[in-house]
Point group: C2
Chain length 343, copies 2
Amino acid sequence: MTDGEQLPALLRVLKGERVDPPPIWIMRQAGRYLPEYRELRKRAKTFMDFCYSPALATEAVLQPLRRFPLDAAILFSDILVVPDALGRKVWFVEGEGPRLEPLIGEEVWRFDEPERALQRLQPVYEAVERIKRELDSATPLIGFCGAPWTVATYMLQGEGGDKDRARRCAYERPADVDRLLDTLAEASARHLAEQVRAGADCVQIFESWAEGLPFPLFERLILRPTEKLMTRLRELGVTAPIIGFPRGAGSALGEYAKRLRLEAIGLDTSVAPHPDLPAQLAVQGNLDPQLLVCGGAALEHGVRHVIDSFRNRPHIFNLGHGITPDATPENLSRLVSLVKGAA
Amino acid sequence: MTDGEQLPALLRVLKGERVDPPPIWIMRQAGRYLPEYRELRKRAKTFMDFCYSPALATEAVLQPLRRFPLDAAILFSDILVVPDALGRKVWFVEGEGPRLEPLIGEEVWRFDEPERALQRLQPVYEAVERIKRELDSATPLIGFCGAPWTVATYMLQGEGGDKDRARRCAYERPADVDRLLDTLAEASARHLAEQVRAGADCVQIFESWAEGLPFPLFERLILRPTEKLMTRLRELGVTAPIIGFPRGAGSALGEYAKRLRLEAIGLDTSVAPHPDLPAQLAVQGNLDPQLLVCGGAALEHGVRHVIDSFRNRPHIFNLGHGITPDATPENLSRLVSLVKGAA
């Protein structure tokens, strides 16, 4: 940014400023709903190869920005690069999702040492540098990682879906699971720090699987490890704003906001208007992603409802969950117009 | 009940009284975790046949009561008997769950007229009568139905699981979906009224799929139809207490409690201690069902936490979701002892 230029809207909101109309970006804005992404994807054999190719990841990030006047870019990567770097190899089964060798069933859990392991993620940081070179100064770049429990769930079960086995493991092998979460907190803090060093302007912590936890486990598996991650990130000298996204936190949402020193909190689709959150805390969300499949009057009403719900506080417009592959670019285009015209 | 006998603990709590220790029953207490149930199940060809056999349903209800000093019985049936009676045939795929011909895809939705349709459910009411004859006066019987949106989700999609298609249909065919919910509210009210007439002492409305709805849909698909169901039930002369169980309501839980005139609200596993609910409203829940798989110290801590969380209000001890087939009878026995000794 040159002197006198205004800070981008997203970063102003992350400083606690109310901006009208709210800045907008979309979770998974680079992805399968775009035909040009589906074409680009063919240029790598596996999804992990794609993530580890700075050139392909950069191109994926830029694709949606060419179509839509979005207010931020987000790194193209996957939350599972961290376990992959820690020595728990990750692969994707077409149409099903990620797979790992499940930790459940292994008697002794061994991981590579976080600091050294993360050297394997150099291609990710190289992608960040490339993306920053391509972006104009008005478009900030969001880095990200998965929160420890969400990543641990995949590592424990070897796959996503139903989280019962991971939760049971947290009861049955508490010391092992807590150690795993510590390892992930440390590795994730370093991973975010490297993204910021490479040029990311702010970061988001995706807690995709906060749902269904009894409160004592929410405390132990979500709050404590995320707090540890954030403390380590600050110790590593990172001052970039942090967005926490505890999808499915339900009635524990307020506790999450109170406990963690976030610059913004991501709200999932189900969070009701006027949530009980600190008045100055920026919120991000929370349009139903299905409205980008439906379009029409339902989309218009939905956008209006979200805008009105958070009119009294700093707000970043987004979906309540990632955009789905069956959403249409036309509906996203309409959404961005509606938000930009909603001041 | 003879003169001078005290009202059973469950019914006292449903009148707003605090009882120590809290009465306890378990969602799906009659079911696959019991070897004697798995044996009994073999005596009917299909699961729906089992549900429609008064003798088998009665025996299933009595089985857990012979093992554990539980404070209530619950009718053995399925929430999908209502669509089945309305002419949308239901069958179960082994290891997967229920199936119906999905309404999505059919241009015109036709249902049999609720009043006449429910005559097909006579075997259910006959089961209620039989069960009541077998129960002692200290053990009340809970009747139940699925809430309109939960049942509609199965009818729309033809199966459970991911609810995206049902939600999309609610956006795309609002008039059809609202009419379906009205039909279900009417049929479900009549279904509950018949259960009470046959002897049920109170009823529970299972809203198993309240989760993930944006608030405007929560209002339209959950609150309005459930309110309609309850109003109709009262119009039909039913005064029995009503327990509403909006699983996954998350931040809309308070609104659900405020809007509906319930005698108790069921809390799912994720509801944090000291929820923001009317002080006199009885709560039911919410131990993690996985603790009946794990057992041990984790079970003890979990029980203590639930007891302490709701110590200041009328409380019915239960799980936060149904008991799973891999739970052990020994752990349930231990749970009941812990609760009974927790005064």
